[in-house]
C-alpha cells in the first residue's frame, strides 16, 4: 500500500513539475494563490480523523479548528485567486474609450 502510494506521489510530483515548466511572469501571483487554495485539501484530513471518531474533548476542539483552518484556506484561496484574475480579464469597452475624444 505504501509503495503504491509512493508511485502516486512521484507521478503527482511530475505532473506539478511539468505543468509549471513554462508560465508567464504576470501569472506568478495568481498561480501561487491558486496552488495555495489546492493544498486546502488538508481539510479532508480533518474530516476523516474527526468524522471516523476521535477520543476526548481536546482532540475534538483541535480538529474543529483544523477543519475551520482548512475551510478558510479553501474558500479564501479560491475567492482571492478569482479576484486577482478578474483584474486581468479583457474589459468590453476597451476599443471605444471616451477619453480618446478629449
Amino acid at each position: 500500500m505504501l509503495l503504491n502510494n509512493l508511485a502516486v506521489l512521484v507521478l503527482a510530483g511530475f505532473v506539478g513539475f511539468v505543468v509549471l515548466s513554462r508560465v508567464p511572469n504576470t501569472l506568478h501571483t495568481p498561480l501561487m494563490s491558486g496552488t495555495n487554495a489546492i493544498h486546502g485539501i488538508v481539510l479532508l484530513g480533518g474530516l476523516i480523523v474527526l468524522g471516523l471518531g476521535t477520543e476526548g474533548v481536546f482532540n475534538k476542539i483541535l480538529l474543529v479548528i483544523a477543519i475551520a483552518f482548512g475551510t478558510v484556506n479553501v474558500v479564501g484561496g479560491f475567492l482571492v485567486t478569482d479576484r486577482m484574475l478578474g483584474m486581468f480579464k479583457e474589459k468590453p469597452g476597451r476599443a471605444t474609450r471616451k477619453e480618446d475624444d478629449a
Binding site: 501571483t29 482548512g70 486577482m84
Partner: protein
C-alpha cells in the same frame, strides 16, 4: 477506502490538474481556478460519503466557521494587500496539518501500533505544517507592516538559535519514532518547529517576501502529501504533491525574476542589516524639482514617452489618472509605452493587474527587455512611484545590496521625470542616484494628485 471515495478522489485530482493547467495561461486562468474549486467540492463530498462518518455537528461547525471567516476576508481585502492574504491562507493550511497530526498522535497515543512509515509521515507533516503556519504568520506581519519590514535578527546568536530550534524539533521526532508516547513530545515538535519557522522568516527582507510565501506554500503542499501517506488518502497525496512540486518550481521562477537565488533569499534579504538605515539622500548631488505645467509641456513636445510605474502608483491608486494622461498624449501624436519591471510593486504582475484594471491595452505594455532597448530612443521617461526598479546602482555599484538585479535603464533616455512624495528610499532601503542625475527632475507629491495636475495642464495646452 471505498470505491465511491476512490473514484471521487480520482475525479477530484483530475480536476485539480486540469485546473492547474488552466491557471498557467492568461486566457484559461479564471476557468482553471474554478475547475480546481469544483475538484475540491468533489473531494469533500466523496470524503463525507465515507462509511462510518459521524460527529456531524462538529464537522458542520468547523466548515461554517471557516466559511464565515474566509469568505469576507477574501472579498474585502484590497488589491495591494493580496500578498499578505495569501500568506495568511497558506498559514492556516499548514496550521490545519499540524493540528490534525497532533490530534492523531493523541488518538493513537504515539505511533507504537502503527507502521513506521505512518509515524514518519505524520511527524513530517506536523513539523513542516507548524513551520509553515508560524513562518506565514511572520510573513503576514511583515507585509501588513505589523512587524518591521526590514530584516530583523537577534544578532550573532540568530543563526545558531535557528539551527538549535530545527535540531530540537528533529530530536523530538526521533524520540517519537523510536517509540515515545508522551503527549508532550508532539507538543515539543510543534513548538520547536514554530520557533524555527519564526526565526527563519524574521531576518528576510520584505522585498523577498513573495518568494518566501511561495516557498511556504510548497511546504504546506508537501505536508499535506505526507498527511495523505499517513492516512492512506489518495486525494491528499496527489493534491499535496501537486502543490509541493509546482510550488517549488514557482518559487524558483519568482526568485529568478528578481535575479536572486533561493539560498540568498533564505540567508537574509535585500538590504541586510548593514544598509538598513540609509534613508535620506546620501549621494549628495543636486536635486532639480519641476512643476506640473513644465512636465505637461515637456511631454506634449516629446516624440516617445515611457511611463515607468512602481509601488507608489499602487499606493496612490494613480493608474486611472496615468492612463488618462497617456491617452491625451497618444491623442496628440506622442508615442507612449509602459515600461513594466517584473517585480515593480509588491507582487509579481502587480503593475499589470493595476494597468489592466485601468483598461490599458496589452500592446502598450513592454517588458524589461523590450523597454531597455526602447529607453535609449525615448525622449521622456516618467517614473511614477517607482524607485528600486530604476536604480542604476544595480548595474554599476558592486557594493550596493541590489547589485545584479536587472533594472530598467531609465537613465538612458533623454530626460527623466520622477513622481514621488519625498527623497525617501524604496523597498530595498537604498539610495537612488537617478534622482540626482543632471537629466532628472523631481515632481514631488502624491502620484495620483501629481498626475491629475499634469492632465489638467495637458488639457489646457
Amino acid at each position: 477506502m471505498t470505491t465511491v471515495a476512490v473514484v471521487g478522489y480520482i475525479i477530484a485530482f483530475a480536476l485539480f490538474i486540469v485546473g492547474l493547467m488552466g491557471l498557467t495561461g492568461p486566457r484559461t486562468a479564471v476557468r482553471g481556478n474554478w475547475t480546481a474549486a469544483v475538484g475540491m467540492l468533489v473531494a469533500i463530498v466523496a470524503t463525507l460519503l465515507l462509511p462510518g462518518m459521524g460527529n456531524w455537528w462538529l464537522i458542520a461547525l468547523g466548515l461554517v466557521l471557516g466559511t464565515v471567516v474566509g469568505v469576507p476576508a477574501a472579498r474585502r481585502v484590497r488589491m495591494t494587500a493580496m500578498p499578505q492574504m495569501v500568506a495568511l491562507f497558506n498559514g492556516v493550511g499548514g496550521g490545519a496539518v499540524a493540528l490534525i497530526a497532533w490530534a492523531e498522535f493523541r488518538d493513537t497515543a504515539g505511533y507504537v501500533a502503527e507502521p513506521l512509515h505512518v509515524a514518519v509521515a505524520s511527524l513530517f507533516a506536523a513539523l513542516v505544517g507548524s513551520v509553515s503556519f508560524w513562518g506565514s504568520l511572520v510573513a503576514f506581519g511583515k507585509l501588513q507592516e505589523l512587524i518591521a519590514t526590514r530584516p530583523v535578527t537577534l544578532g550573532a546568536v540568530h543563526r545558531p538559535l535557528t539551527a538549535v530550534a530545527l535540531a530540537a524539533a528533529l530530536a523530538y521526532v526521533v524520540v517519537i519514532a523510536a517509540g515515545g508516547t508522551s503527549g508532550w513530545l508532539i507538543v515539543g515538535v510543534l513548538l520547536a518547529a514554530a520557533f524555527f519557522g519564526v526565526l527563519l522568516v524574521l531576518p528576510i527582507g520584505g522585498a523577498d517576501m513573495p518568494v518566501v510565501i511561495s516557498l511556504l506554500n510548497a511546504a504546506t503542499g508537501l505536508s499535506a502529501a505526507a498527511m495523505g501517506l499517513a492516512l492512506d488518502n489518495t486525494a491528499l497525496i496527489v493534491a499535496g504533491m501537486l502543490v509541493g512540486a509546482s510550488g517549488s518550481i514557482l518559487t524558483n521562477l519568482m526568485a529568478k525574476a528578481m535575479n536572486r537565488t533561493l539560498v540568498s533569499v533564505l540567508l537574509g534579504g535585500f538590504g541586510g542589516a548593514a544598509v538598513a538605515e540609509a534613508d535620506g539622500p546620501g549621494t549628495g548631488g543636486m536635486v532639480r524639482t519641476t512643476g506640473a505645467a513644465d512636465v505637461a509641456i515637456q511631454l506634449a513636445y516629446a516624440n516617445r514617452v515611457a511611463v515607468v510605474p512602481g509601488y507608489g502608483m499602487a499606493v496612490a491608486q494613480a493608474q486611472h489618472a496615468v492612463r488618462e494622461m497617456a491617452d491625451l498624449l497618444t491623442g496628440s501624436g506622442v508615442e507612449v509605452y509602459y515600461a513594466v519591471h517584473p517585480v515593480a510593486g509588491r507582487m509579481p504582475g502587480h503593475m499589470n493587474v493595476l494597468l489592466a484594471e485601468a483598461d490599458v491595452g496589452y500592446e502598450a505594455l513592454k517588458d524589461l527587455e523590450e523597454s531597455n532597448s526602447l529607453l535609449p530612443r525615448t525622449d521622456v521617461a516618467v517614473v511614477i512611484g517607482a524607485n528600486d526598479v530604476t536604480n542604476p546602482a544595480a548595474r554599476t555599484d558592486a557594493s550596493s545590496p541590489i547589485y545584479g538585479m536587472p533594472v530598467l535603464s531609465v537613465d538612458a533616455s533623454r530626460s527623466v521625470i520622477v513622481l514621488k512624495r519625498s527623497m525617501g528610499s524604496g523597498f530595498a532601503g537604498v539610495d537612488n542616484a537617478l534622482f540626482t542625475d543632471p537629466r532628472t527632475s523631481m515632481l514631488f507629491g502624491d502620484a495620483k494628485e501629481s498626475v491629475a495636475s499634469v492632465v489638467e495642464e495637458l488639457k489646457a495646452l
